[in-house]
Symmetry: C2
Subunit: 262 residues, 2 copies
């Protein structure tokens, strides 16, 4: 790393994976003036789509990996990450993974780190990557990893594997489960031919409140008021849909328990 | 209604109730240049607080109600609404309630309607009432009610009691349950001494996506990928907290079912 600055701000990178995270990360790497050499994906079509967007080479065979990158970023699903990490040809470069719930030592290489963008990515939606919290961890290459992360986002935090694991779990509640609640709400509206758009001001305000009040303090609705009449009517409305009814009951009970403890 | 316009845009109103909805509605009525004559609440302290803010009279005895208002707005909890509606002294004015899940005919008066502001209100948080969806219903006084509603908000929709009931249920999912997910997330972070603020970009993006993509299409996370390893790890992390673990399981199962049907 003798040539330092120019090396650090303009890295040659190979992307392993072509999913949602790899797609947004790839675009951010190009904007950060890094050079993406190759995109690997087991699915040739995915590799080609992303490689075309990043104007680089698509490969679907790990043995075709270039050996001259500064950083290899493994952005694959958690389920296949251990396997890919084991089978990828090693150089003396830095290897990173992007998985929030996986420890750093899933990577067997001597120079390793984690670059976890804590955000919900959809290929179909553009994203201002500068706002995305990047949670980083590296014992061997913290300053290099920090340079890379800070070239992509203004929101970089060093976290241990243990903390990241907890954050990832908390994000499932605050993002994945929240989106599923939107989905269930949209289904209920569609059944009554009411457009989902009417719900958007409420969704925005609920999210907006989280910036100003602790969520516990912002809680509203029948369960926090222990309004049994309304809850009973709601459960009746869900009689045709046992899965939604179970969810309604469990979440109302959970809210109720956290407010109306004896 | 012979004097029409000035009567319609500048109404004399009595507010029954001094909770979150009444507080925000009261402020919006004053901004809309209506005259709030009185605030009634069984709790004298609540009545005085809101009446002071609106510079009008506080009462805690229904027999002290003025008889010369154009509109009486019953903004009390669903649980007590039927009782209050029955016991309030009647004039020939228009009587409204603000409860999303209650039918119009909970009001026994000949001139009656519903003015349901579909929003999550906290007394501690200011609100741009012009953005709040107001769902209105009145057989006898639709045009008067519409004038009133449109003086308060740019987002007025006529809905039947049946549709409003469905919307109210859908709002519990999209708002109350969503906020509870934020709360559970905040609890998980607090246990690991991670500030909740790190979650805000993710919360904002999740809400922002709902404007652009149907929520079903925007779903991300381990359950939609059917990533059993990650889900198993998450459940282990929740072993100390059976209530959160049950919620994690049920919601993951619900997401999984809606994406990975055989």
């Amino acid at each position: 790393m003798g040539q330092s600055r120019s090396y650090q701000v303009n890295m040659r990178i190979v992307l392993i994976g072509a999913g949602n995270v790899a797609t947004h990360l790839g675009a951010a790497l190009i904007k950060g003036e890094h050079e993406v050499l190759q995109v690997f994906s087991r699915s040739n079509a995915s590799a080609v789509t992303l490689a075309d967007a990043l104007q680089c080479q698509a490969i679907n065979d790990l043995s075709a990996l270039r050996k001259d990158a500064d950083v290899y970023i493994l952005s694959v699903s958690d389920a296949v990450l251990p396997d890919v990490a084991k089978n990828i040809p090693q150089t003396d470069a830095l290897y990173l993974h992007t998985a929030g719930s996986m420890p750093i030592d899933v990577l067997p290489m001597p120079r390793r780190g984690v670059l976890y963008p804590m955000q919900t990515f959809s290929k179909a939606r553009a994203m201002d990557f500068h706002q995305v919290p990047l949670l980083i961890e590296s014992q061997t290459d913290e300053s290099l990893l920090r340079s890379l992360a800070e070239s992509l986002s203004n929101n970089v935090h060093v976290m241990t594997s243990q903390q990241r694991k907890r954050l990832h779990l908390a994000a499932v509640f605050a993002c994945n489960f929240v989106n599923h609640m939107y989905d269930l709400s949209a289904q209920l509206l569609a059944e009554a031919e009411i457009p989902f758009e009417v719900m958007l001001p409420l969704i925005d305000e609920t999210a907006g409140k989280a910036h100003k009040l602790p969520p516990h303090q912002a809680q509203t609705g029948p369960a926090v008021r222990d309004d049994q009449n309304v809850m009973h009517m709601h459960e009746e409305q869900l009689a045709h849909d046992p899965q939604k009814q179970r969810i309604y009951r469990l979440l109302s009970q959970s809210i109720n328990l956290s407010f109306n403890k004896k």
